[in-house]
């Protein structure tokens, strides 16, 4: 596994390098000026110019890029233009909120996805199958923000059971924190869970047609044992790949979900950074997201190899 990771390292580095260049240049292509967030909208042009100078924005772009890159090798990810402290500190302070959301959403996604998938992929009455089918189709159809809105409307407004916006740190007050977390996490998890469930169902159905299931049956194995030992076990790989892919989507969805549920996580930090043109924060966030996506991919490959003895970790 170590050697697998080592072998992957160069291509990860290439991806990171290219991404860093895009993450650096793309936000800067947009009109606007980070100095404005400091200078204010009613600043005079000379005030703005003075702030720009102070922020080092008048340096050539190449130099800014190289400063950033070399800084990162020394562990210095740069200073937020707006918040005037290390980007790592800024991101660190928002990490908890997003991690809590992502963690709970991930748990829900895995739990709901696997349960739905296994139920739908097992031979049962037509009626149950139709109900499950409708459920997955519905979840599949509604993207996270719609699910979020519906949850807000029904569980927050019409039947005010749960708080609809804001947050409380989990370690401050776990019970209250969970109340705030449950709706956004559900909103994020449901559509993804539906995708996982659907893929698992398909994988199980196709595994059911395999000869080894016939052989198991010919051995006299009971249907339940066939489902668990043979069908599900062989379909888990698909589920893992799906989960890996979905994990990325989960993070992307978190941006909108955080906006809708007014959570102060990395997603809202990213949006705020775009709006205030805090390039220093934004470029690290983008780069981080790309690298995270790559690692999730690698991670799911490793799990896949662990699940399926046929797969060896090669390039």
């Amino acid at each position: 596994m170590i050697s697998f990771l080592l072998r992957k390292l160069p291509s990860v580095a290439v991806v990171a390098l290219i991404s860093s260049a895009i993450a650096f240049i793309l936000p800067r292509l947009a009109p606007g000026d980070p100095a404005l967030a400091i200078a204010g909208s009613d600043a005079t042009p000379e005030q703005l110019a003075a702030v720009r100078e102070q922020m080092g924005l008048s340096k050539p772009l190449i130099q800014q890029y190289l400063d950033w890159m070399f800084g990162m090798f020394r562990g210095d990810f740069g200073q937020s233009f707006i918040m005037r402290r290390p980007v790592t500190t800024v991101i660190g302070s928002r990490l908890e909120s997003t991690l809590e959301l992502a963690f709970l959403a991930m748990l829900l996604m895995i739990a709901i996805g696997l349960v739905l998938g296994v139920l739908a992929g097992s031979p049962r009455s037509k009626w149950a199958r139709v109900v499950l089918d409708i459920m997955t189709t519905l979840f599949l159809a509604t993207p996270p923000f719609l699910t979020g809105l519906l949850l807000i409307l029904f569980l927050g407004i019409f039947f005010p059971i749960l708080p609809i916006s804001g947050e409380v740190g989990f370690f401050e007050n776990p019970w209250l924190a969970l109340q705030f977390l449950i709706l956004p996490a559900l909103a994020l998890a449901l559509p993804q869970a539906a995708i996982v469930a659907r893929l698992l169902q398909t994988a199980m159905n196709s595994a059911r047609g395999e000869d080894y299931v016939d052989l198991a049956k010919a051995k006299g194995v009971s249907p339940g044992r066939i489902t668990w030992r043979h069908v599900l076990r062989n379909s888990l790989g698909t589920a893992v790949v799906a989960l890996g892919l979905r994990a990325g989507d989960l993070l992307a969805g978190a941006i909108v979900i955080e906006a809708i549920f007014a959570r102060n996580g990395l997603g809202s930090l990213a949006v705020y950074s775009v709006q205030s043109r805090d390039y220093m924060v934004l470029q690290v966030l983008i780069l981080g997201a790309v690298i995270l996506a790559v690692f999730i991919q690698l991670f799911s490959e490793i799990i896949l190899a662990a699940l399926d003895p046929r797969i060896r970790l090669e390039s």
Partner: protein, 684 residues
């Protein structure tokens, strides 16, 4: 044949009576099996023979009550020791499956759960029938040893993918034997295996029958396998039993035109090569559209009016023989009439320049690896030299993995040549640049193994052939005419131009594949297992077509196949390939008549022949499997399995050190063996 065949016991172990199975597809009900009855007596091997769609596998699954949805047994009884398996609840059936009846499947690769250790898979068969886990593991080890898996302590905890195909089939058999069943149903257990491995498995089955007294139902399409292993025979066609009887008797005098034709359509290993095959016209019926009356009548050369409308019943034809044929019932002759026969004559190399010449070609098939990583080379083709002359057929024989397909792909430029050179019509095309590619494409064409895969399902037959014409610059009305001419040339009609591949049978598709290959007027066709995906009765048609075309158009063939009888039938010269190298090459008569390399001997000796009562005692059956080309053995590549090599004769250490050169032998052909000619065929 193992002489343990006593007269049948009075009480059959398994009695299948009037079994009918249907598949309900929406509003149509397809009869896959109709009114099938047979008996299996204890300790005997019953062969069920038939082509695809004959209902032989459905019959087996009906017995096991393991029909895939929407299959359903409509009628009949399956009596195991007098108990009707079709009448008991599923839970009881579960207890019988694996305990009293066990099954072995065709594809051992697919039949083992890839993510479960083999030991656990064997143990599972015991666990579900009430054995303790500890006991089950002990028994699993014993079973593995019994089926001939070496180094059980280690291999028991391996995964199926770490086993070779033959070893996997042994594991499947071990699973089947776990609970000492009285009946073993083997569904084409050797079809997916190579000849040498097939011989191992057949020997194992025969041995088990002998030692354990187990009864076997052997489902196969291969008359050779039947002749070698079975006592009794059931021939199925179109979902019905058409002939039944002791193997010896049926082979000696078939009482159904289909059985008779089938026996004649298979090329024989011992044939001189100049007699024509008698092909059965048409193709086997699909269960959805069975012909009226006798299902075989559209292909039968003896059909009388009655055959068109009335289904013949199975009627007794003397001592334990039954046949379902109006003609036979009336005492008529059922031997096939030679239709349009081609007198074959061998051509000798005419001294003309070879159209294709390979000189010491090596091909690396290792993937190129990532951006920064280097993978060690794997030579699937490792120093091959051969020549194909105009109008001549060079047969290339070898088991799967020997590199024969890589070789053909290298010639076509799909794989890059790592070393050596390829000449086409005297021009060096090794570089495969544009000009070379064009020359290759014009001179050499390819006929693929799988006619299902080699035609684009979304393009009509006409479009597929037009494309080939377009490449050589034939367009417009001329091209359309050529398409029709080509179709007619391969025995199809103009109608096929606008059809899609799915509307054609396998044989028809292969004809299209040949037509497409002929579009560019090539001088050589590379035929890569062109008949192995086809039903036995169709194979003869395609072989005859190929021979016809060769004689008419003066084509040269590089004919690649694993089936030695087919190669013998069509080839002028034969090359035997093992692990990327040619081990023997010579005329068909030389190689088949007096093989010099021990591998050739083993191949020939392993091939089951449709002749009952042939002794199998002195067979040369290889042990083990072909090593991976990534890690070829030092010295002679065959030494690890060679019956006369250092594995058996420790003094022959030269084989470990030195790779033998392909050199002329006393009997004329060339062989690459330090002790050429030592091993020989011992035919009974």
């Amino acid at each position: 044949m193992i002489e343990t065949r006593q007269a049948p016991a009075t009480q059959p172990l398994l009695r299948v009576e009037h079994l009918s199975t249907t598949f309900d597809m929406g509003n149509v009900s397809v009869r896959a099996v109709t009114d099938v009855s047979f008996d299996l007596y204890p300790g005997r091997v019953l062969g069920i023979v038939g082509e695809s769609g004959s209902g032989k596998s459905v019959t087996a699954r009906s017995v096991m009550r393991m029909l895939r949805s929407p299959g359903q047994v409509r009628e009949g009884q399956v009596l195991l020791d007098g108990e009707d398996l079709l009448a008991i609840p599923e839970r009881e059936m579960q207890a019988i499956r694996g305990k009293k009846i066990a099954m072995v499947f065709q594809d051992p690769q697919a039949a083992l759960n890839p993510v479960m250790r083999v030991g656990d898979q064997i143990a599972e068969a015991l666990l579900v029938h009430g054995t303790s886990a500890k006991e089950a593991r002990k028994r699993a080890k014993a079973l593995l040893a019994q089926v001939g898996i070496p180094d059980v302590e280690r291999t028991i905890d391996q995964f199926p993918h770490e086993f070779s195909g033959g070893m996997r089939q042994r594991v499947v058999i071990a699973i089947a034997l776990a609970n000492n069943p009285t009946l073993l149903i083997a569904d084409e257990p050797t079809t997916a295996l190579d000849v040498t491995i097939q011989a191992q498995i057949l020997r194992l089955l025969a041995q088990l029958r002998l030692e354990l007294g187990i009864s076997i139902i052997m489902i196969t399409h291969d008359m050779g396998v039947v002749a070698e292993l079975c006592d009794d025979l059931v021939v199925m066609y179109g979902g019905r039993v058409v002939e039944k009887g002791p193997v010896r008797d049926v082979f000696a005098s078939p009482r159904h035109p289909y059985t008779a034709a089938l026996l004649k359509a298979v090329p024989r290993l011992d044939a001189k090569g100049d007699e024509a095959l008698i092909a059965i016209p048409g193709s086997p019926p699909v269960p959805l559209r069975l012909p009226s009356g006798c299902a075989f009548h559209p292909r039968c050369s003896h059909a009388i009016d009655k055959c068109f409308n009335d289904t013949p019943p199975l009627s007794s034809m003397g001592d334990r023989r039954e046949s379902a044929c109006w003609v036979a019932a009336a005492g008529g002759n059922v031997e096939p009439r030679p239709t349009d026969e081609f007198g074959r004559h061998r051509r000798q190399a005419s001294g003309a320049a070879p159209t294709l010449r390979l000189d010491n070609v090596r091909t690396n098939v290792a993937s190129s690896g990532g951006l920064f990583s280097k993978t060690p080379p794997v030579y699937a083709v490792d120093g091959i030299s051969l020549e194909v002359f105009p109008g001549e057929t060079l047969g290339l024989v070898g088991e799967s993995g020997c590199g024969k397909s890589t070789l053909s792909r290298t010639i076509m430029g799909i794989n890059d040549v790592s070393e050596g050179r390829i000449e086409v019509s005297g021009t060096d095309v090794t570089s495969m640049d544009l000009a070379a590619r064009n020359l290759v494409a014009k001179t050499i064409q390819y006929v693929f193994q799988d006619p299902f895969a080699s035609l684009n399902p979304r393009r009509t037959i006409g479009q597929s052939i037009l494309e080939a014409l377009e490449v050589v610059g034939v367009t417009g009305a001329e091209a359309d005419n050529r398409v029709v001419a080509l179709l007619i040339r391969v025995g199809l009609s103009e109608d096929y131009v606008s059809r899609y591949p799915y509307e054609l049978s396998g044989g028809q598709r292969q004809r299209v594949g040949i037509a497409r290959a002929l579009a560019a007027n090539p001088k050589i066709l590379i035929c890569d297992e062109p008949v192995s995906a086809l039903d036995v009765s169709i194979q003869a048609q395609i072989i005859s077509l190929l021979e016809e075309l060769r004689d008419e158009l003066g084509l040269g063939y590089l004919f690649i196949a694993h089936d030695l009888s087919v190669v013998r039938h069509i080839s002028d010269r034969v090359a035997v390939m093992y692990l990327g190298r040619i081990v023997e090459v010579g005329t068909a008569e030389e190689v088949y008549g007096n093989p010099q390399h021990p591998y050739t001997v083993a191949l020939l000796s392993s091939t089951p022949e449709p002749k009952p009562d042939q002794s199998t005692e002195h067979r040369v059956i290889l042990t083990g499997d072909m090593p991976s080309p990534a890690r070829p053995p030092s010295g002679c590549r065959f030494r690890t399995r060679c019956p006369i090599g250092p594995a058996f004769r420790s003094d022959r250490e030269i084989c470990n050190r030195q790779s033998p050169e392909l050199a002329a032998t006393a009997s004329g052909q060339k062989a690459a063996c330090h002790f050429a000619g030592e091993a020989s065929l011992a035919r009974g």
